[in-house]
């Protein structure tokens, strides 16, 4: 007597991305906190000192948020026009910001009124930064110039007029007080040395440069412009290392993770991509609701802050250690040890006669019903909410098994409105899935055959049938489009392939040589 063979549930290859260490790391953030600002958020900068407040530049204001508060702890409003690029000094005491009105303002973080106003630019200043000796300020403006200012005297030290278009990004070296780099809409990056009067290195990015980033070692420079992110080796004289093209709209912002092993880029295409800095492959991807203008990571990656064009600031905090543990602990609740050990730890004595217990076959609920030939009940069990939603392959496998047994019609028939609605719901959810379509199409046809006489009696069922019809029509259109694309591709491939003359003589010779080789081998043996 053979035992009952349970229903085979087909194993489908897992769709979607693979779970890697990176996925786990970057998924370990809480649901985002969203704050509405007054306008598009153009810059976010974290304070280098604890408690790591961050300055958010949006429209005519700069807000400073604490690490966990959702209300700004400080606001700077003394701007006549749109503010740009609010950045902290390395001691976290001062903040500098450019403005549309070409005036650069320096603030004390605890004060309200600007400590200094640097006037000299003729157009909007989009980029400001402190040099590493903390006494000077770098600014870049739409008047094609970048300037160095002395903080104590509020005087202009030098002006560099080498760019031929707007300067929209720049960064100062953290190691050398004299070095700074600017990127411009004239597609170039220029490295300046304050000790010289002109740029010492020029690199061509190829697109208007939007953002610049220096590696902590300052040997590598990353620039973003257009859809490209490019990495340059400064020590080799500005040699391009890599060019990444993973976004499909302009990349607006760059950022390094705290460890320096991951590079993040944000783009107008609403994605933030995370790259591995050793092989520059995308390891993770975040989606946002709107085009992203600014991005910043808190020290130790404690939070990701993203500013968007729709003036929404999104803050994601990292889950604390015990929080993430708690969740996994809940999933792993199992019966206690005692339950398993019960009766198992009895050691048989020497003259005990051991009666071997027949191995009990464990069957799933639907298999138990199938074993008893209760086809309707088997289908009901397979359509239970959890199975239906989480493991549709089980439901499909049961439907397939019923079809194989020739009893699918019996199982589908005789259902009330609720049962039928559930069935139709499942069909609507899964019928267009290519893995399940062959089975479910048969089932759908049977349902229509069986229940066509009751159409019009229940509004719920009717609505679902209409939805199903709509879905199928859409699917048919979609398939037709796909076929068209396939046809186009075929013609393109066919035309792109070089016409090769079939040289019969040549191929013959080849066969001959192969065969003679083979013969020699045989002789050798």
């Amino acid at each position: 007597m053979a035992s009952f063979k349970p229903t085979k549930v087909q194993v489908y290859p897992k769709l979607g991305e693979k779970v890697t260490q990176d996925t786990l790391y970057w998924k370990n953030y809480k649901a985002p906190v969203q704050i509405k600002e007054f306008g598009a958020i153009t810059n976010i900068d974290f304070s280098p000192v604890a408690p790591h407040n961050f300055a958010v530049t949006a429209f005519t204001r700069i807000h400073i948020y604490g690490p966990f508060s959702q209300e700004p702890v400080k606001t700077f409003t003394r701007f006549k026009d749109t503010a740009y690029c609010g950045r902290f000094r390395s001691d976290g005491q001062l903040l500098v910001a450019g403005c549309e009105d070409s005036v650069v303002r320096l603030f004390d973080v605890s004060g309200k009124v600007a400590l200094r106003m640097f006037k000299g630019h003729t157009k909007a200043v989009h980029i400001t930064d402190f040099t590493s000796d903390r006494y000077q300020i770098l600014t870049g403006s739409d008047d094609y110039t970048c300037r160095l200012w002395d903080i104590p005297n509020a005087t202009e030290l030098n002006t560099y007029q080498e760019h031929t278009d707007y300067i929209r990004c720049g960064v100062t070296s953290k190691l050398n007080r004299d070095l700074f780099i600017t990127g411009s809409y004239d597609h170039t990056l220029k490295l300046f040395d304050a000790r010289a009067d002109k740029s010492v290195m020029t690199m061509d990015h190829g697109q208007p440069v939007e953002s610049l980033l220096l590696y902590p070692s300052e040997g590598l420079l990353v620039s973003a412009g257009g859809r490209h992110v490019k990495v340059w080796d400064l020590l080799k004289g500005g040699q391009p290392l890599v060019s990444l093209k993973n976004h499909h709209k302009t990349v607006t912002c760059l950022c390094l993770s705290s460890s320096g092993h991951r590079l993040l880029s944000a783009s107008l295409d609403r994605h933030v991509k995370v790259y591995n800095t050793t092989n520059y492959k995308v390891v993770h991807n975040f989606d946002y609701a709107a085009s992203i203008l600014s991005l910043a990571l808190a020290p130790d990656d404690e939070s990701i802050v993203v500013g968007m064009t729709n003036s929404i600031l999104s803050i994601k905090h990292r889950k604390s250690l015990d929080e993430s543990k708690e969740i996994s602990g809940q999933q792993r609740r199992q019966p206690s040890y005692r339950v398993f050990v019960k009766g198992k730890n009895y050691v048989p004595k020497q003259d005990d006669y051991l009666v071997s217990k027949p191995v009990k076959q464990h069957l799933a609920k639907y298999d138990k019903q199938l074993k008893k030939f209760n086809v309707s009940k088997a289908l009901d069990t397979a359509l239970e909410t959890w199975t239906r939603l989480r493991k549709p392959e089980i439901t499909v496998a049961v439907i397939k098994e019923l079809d194989r047994r020739g009893t699918l019609k019996n199982a589908l028939a005789g259902r009330d409105e609720q049962g039928l609605a559930r069935l139709l719901n499942f069909l609507i959810g899964n019928v267009v899935d290519p893995r399940f379509a062959p089975v479910l199409v048969t089932a759908a046809e049977m349902i229509l055959d069986i229940y066509q006489s009751v159409i019009g009696q229940s509004s719920v069922v009717d609505r679902q049938l209409l939805r199903l019809q709509e879905l199928l029509e859409r699917e048919i259109d979609y398939q037709q489009d796909l076929l068209e694309v396939l046809g186009m591709l075929d013609t393109m491939f066919a035309s792109s392939l070089p016409r090769k003359e079939v040289n019969l003589h040549l191929s013959k010779r080849k066969t001959e040589s192969i065969n003679s080789d083979r013969e020699e081998d045989a002789v050798g043996q």
Partner: protein, 832 residues
């Protein structure tokens, strides 16, 4: 024909054992069943076939224990004889010649010396009318007796043996035919006939399929086509009979049987569930489900301890009182057709073909025994007629037997074709195949051919499948997946090839795996599997290619193909041209994997001819006309376990491997030589295992030892006839004679030493030759020797004396004297 006279076509195994109801002997130790032209005796405990009762020249149609002697058994056959056998020793006791085909047999203890047989109606020659005839068996001592005293009992009976049965104590006999039940009372010499309506209201069919009588009670049970069982009572009146109905089966009841005490009724049918009904409490039922396949016969042992069911898949199951299955005797499963090719498993050297639905069977050819069934589909089989099931349609082994590829398909009327390609790895630990990869829908249409690359030295294993969708695909064993460590390597598609949108029909790898030939209708394409480059195309005939075969060994430069317009073509791959072609309607072409030989089955005028040839030679190695009628489509070369040493030119092709083929009637046939048959005969006698002791490993150890002991005196026995120059005989004699009857040691010593010396005999070569001849004689005598050994022991001493030619004549005389001496005084000593 004349010159190949010594090569014969013979049946080789795989005969049906479920044709008629098996019989369990009174001591429940043996099971007898009709199997083709012989009756097979199986042991119920070990499942081994103990011996065949051979003698009938037609199909055996019934087996019956002799009611008066339980150690003898009747068998009836379509050759018109009834034979009486002693089944324990396998001896034919008597043959009764009836003169017309016998379809079934029954007897009762109440009717001494009479058996009842079913024969065709003598009056008219139409074969669909049968009668029940009582035969008075003549009491004569002759082996061959003509039984002429026939008296008709009932006319118009069914030829189905399940439809005629004796009632309580043999007082009446019940017979069912169609819708009628007829009961004949012997005392009253009167028969009653009860009829049922053709169809009852619900449309069920009332045709009676089987009958059983209660052993103690006046009750007849009939099984019907619609699954009902009727219990008839009070049937000794024409009018006042009653019946009650039991219904569980959903399709026809194929067998019914009461237990010997009459407490239970057993029934079985297509559902493959054995149902046990309590007599008089019919609402209580026991079930033994999932017995494998449809039940055809049910038998109960006379003591009621064993049940036995025959199944439609050529299987007999022995069940211990409806609790558990204790033994399964499984023959070669033969469906209506073999969908997969016949193959030989390179590991077990067993024949592999599809058997039970969704299974592959591994059948050991030398042992004529089914080794095991491999479940390919792994789904619960639903026993219902008219249901489309998954079927195994293709299978292939790789060269070493470590991979098996199978294709299963299911086609429903209006649904898509369901196709699965499964790859099985051989697991050394469990010694069976384990599923490695399942590829669902490997192709969009039916797979036409499939083959593994047979190169033994290649690193990767490759499988090529061709399909009706116009593509051929190469599948390769990939490296272990890097994601999870516990997953082993799995198979994936390596290459998809097509040629001008034509449908590929067959594919073949060359012996070294460097070339792949795929035929696309009339074009043969040759590819290099290493680079997947189309090397050349060969297209000679204007018709589709049916079979492709690469030559082997010295003929590896040839590619052979057969076409639909009756051509056999041989291409030379070095010149890419046609070497030769001949016009033949070849239904099957296959290559011997071990030699250059190719076999072609050629269909001509309703029968099949066989040609065995080498592609390089113009003359065939062997040819035989009309090996069987009809078209042979399945055949295989099975490598021999030990090579034959035949030097005759015509039979040399059988030295390395044996050719098996299936006739259109699903008989497994093979070619054999005379010498081989003799050898087989001798060895089969040796193989008989006495099953009085269970076959434990301990028994095997000890039993062998005992057999050797038994065989020892034989050497003495045979020594009588030949001068064997073996000194050991003398020593043996010395050692076997009881010590207290031997002369003093000093007297024997010189003789003993002499016997150890190598004597200078002139006829050494000659004797050796004789020895070889005698070897076979000895084997033949084994069985007799075993019986007689006990009686012969005393004589041996005297015989052995003569059997020591190494001794000088004087010594011989001396020894004889000693022997004579002890025989004379030894009894005297005892009596005194």
């Amino acid at each position: 024909m004349v010159e190949h006279g010594d090569i014969r076509v013979v049946h080789r195994g795989g005969s049906k054992i479920n044709f008629r109801e098996p019989v369990i002997t009174h001591d429940s130790r043996y099971l007898l069943c009709a199997s083709g032209e012989c009756v097979k005796v199986f042991s119920t405990s070990t499942e081994e076939c103990i011996h065949d009762l051979r003698g009938h020249t037609g199909l055996v149609t019934g087996v019956l224990l002799k009611p008066s002697n339980h150690l003898q058994v009747y068998s009836c056959s379509a050759d018109g004889t009834v034979r009486l056998w002693d089944y324990t020793d396998g001896i034919l006791i008597k043959t009764y010649v009836i003169g017309c085909p016998v379809y079934s047999i029954c007897a009762s203890a109440n009717h001494e010396g009479v058996i009842f047989i079913v024969t065709p109606m003598l009056s008219d020659k139409r074969s669909d009318l049968f009668q029940l005839v009582a035969v008075d068996l003549p009491q004569s001592g002759d082996q061959l007796v003509e039984a002429r005293e026939l008296s008709a009992v009932l006319s118009d009976v069914s030829s189905n043996p399940a439809a005629i049965v004796f009632g309580r104590g043999g007082e009446y006999i019940a017979s069912a035919n169609g819708l009628h039940l007829e009961v004949y009372f012997f005392k009253k010499q009167k028969s009653y006939r009860f009829s049922l309506k053709e169809d009852n209201k619900k449309g069920g069919k009332n045709t009676v399929t089987c009958v059983a009588c209660h052993p103690k009670d006046d009750c007849i049970a009939t099984g019907h086509e619609d699954g009902k069982i009727r219990l008839w009572r009070n049937f000794n009146h024409k009018k006042e009979y009653t019946y009650s109905t039991l219904h569980w089966h959903h399709s026809a009841v194929s067998s019914l049987c009461f237990t010997p005490e009459g407490t239970n009724l057993l029934s079985g049918g297509m559902e493959s569930v054995l149902v046990q009904w309590r007599y008089n409490q019919e609402s209580e039922r026991d079930f033994l489900p999932r017995l494998g396949s449809a039940i055809t016969h049910i038998t109960v042992s006379p003591d009621g301890a064993l049940f036995c069911t025959s199944h439609s898949d050529n299987k007999i199951t022995i069940i211990q009182s409806c609790v558990k299955v204790s033994a399964v005797i499984q023959g070669l499963v033969k469906g209506e057709s073999v969908r997969t090719d016949m193959m030989v498993d390179p590991r077990s050297k067993s024949l592999v073909l599809n058997g039970k639905p969704g299974h592959l069977q591994f059948y050991s050819l030398p042992r004529d025994k089914l080794l095991y069934n491999l479940d390919i589909v792994q789904q619960e089989y639903i026993h219902e007629s008219g249901l489309e099931q998954f079927e195994v349609v293709k299978a292939a082994f790789d060269a070493s037997g470590s991979w098996l590829a199978t294709v299963e398909e299911r086609k429903q009327k209006d649904a898509e074709l369901e196709l699965n390609l499964k790859l099985w790895a051989f697991d050394e630990q469990t010694q069976s195949f384990v599923l490695n990869t399942t590829i669902s829908a490997p192709h969009e249409a039916r797979i036409t051919a499939m083959c593994f690359c047979h190169a033994t030295d290649s690193q990767t294993t490759m499988l090529v499948s061709t399909s009706k969708d116009g593509h051929f695909k190469a599948w390769q064993l990939g490296a272990p997946a890097h994601t999870e460590a516990d997953e082993g390597p799995s198979w994936s598609c390596d290459f998809v090839g097509a040629y001008h949108g034509l449908v590929p029909e067959c594919c073949c790898f060359s012996a070294d795996g460097s070339l792949l030939a795929v035929s696309f209708q009339e074009v043969v394409t040759v590819w290099s599997p290493a680079s997947w480059e189309l090397l050349t195309t060969l297209s000679q005939p204007p018709k589709a290619v049916r079979d492709l075969c690469f030559g082997r060994l010295s003929c590896s430069k040839y590619l052979l193909g057969t076409t639909a317009n009756n051509l056999l073509c041989c291409w030379n791959l070095l010149t890419c041209s046609l070497e030769w072609s001949t016009s033949m309607d070849i239904s099957l072409l296959l290559a011997d994997p071990l030699t250059e030989n190719m076999a072609a089955f050629c269909c001509q005028a309703g029968s099949t001819d066989l040609f065995v040839f080498k592609p390089s030679e113009p003359r065939p190695v062997f040819s035989q006309k009309a090996v069987c009628s009809g078209k042979v489509t399945r055949a295989v070369f099975a490598p021999r376990e030990e090579m034959l040493e035949s030097c005759e030119e015509s039979s040399q092709w059988l030295n390395h491997s044996q050719l098996y083929f299936l006739t259109p009637y699903m008989d497994l046939m093979t070619f054999t030589t005379k010498a081989e048959e003799d050898r087989l005969m001798a060895s089969s006698k040796q193989l008989v295992i006495d099953d009085s002791v269970a076959m434990t490993p301990f028994y095997l150890l000890l039993g062998k030892h005992r057999q050797q002991e038994d065989a020892d005196p034989l050497s003495g026995l045979s020594a009588e006839r030949r001068p064997l120059p073996q000194c050991s005989v003398a020593i043996k004699e010395l050692l076997q004679t009881p010590a207290h009857v031997l002369p003093s040691t000093s007297f024997l010593c010189s003789m003993f030493v002499q016997s150890l010396l190598i004597s200078v005999t002139n006829g050494r070569e000659e004797t050796k030759h004789v020895e070889e001849e005698m070897e076979s004689e000895k084997e033949e005598e084994d069985s007799e020797g075993e019986m007689e050994s006990s009686t012969q022991r005393p004589e041996q001493a005297s015989l052995g004396g003569q059997a020591a030619p190494a001794l000088t004549k004087a010594q011989l005389r001396e020894l004889k004297r000693v022997k004579k001496l002890d025989h004379s005084w030894f009894p005297g000593l005892l009596h005194s």
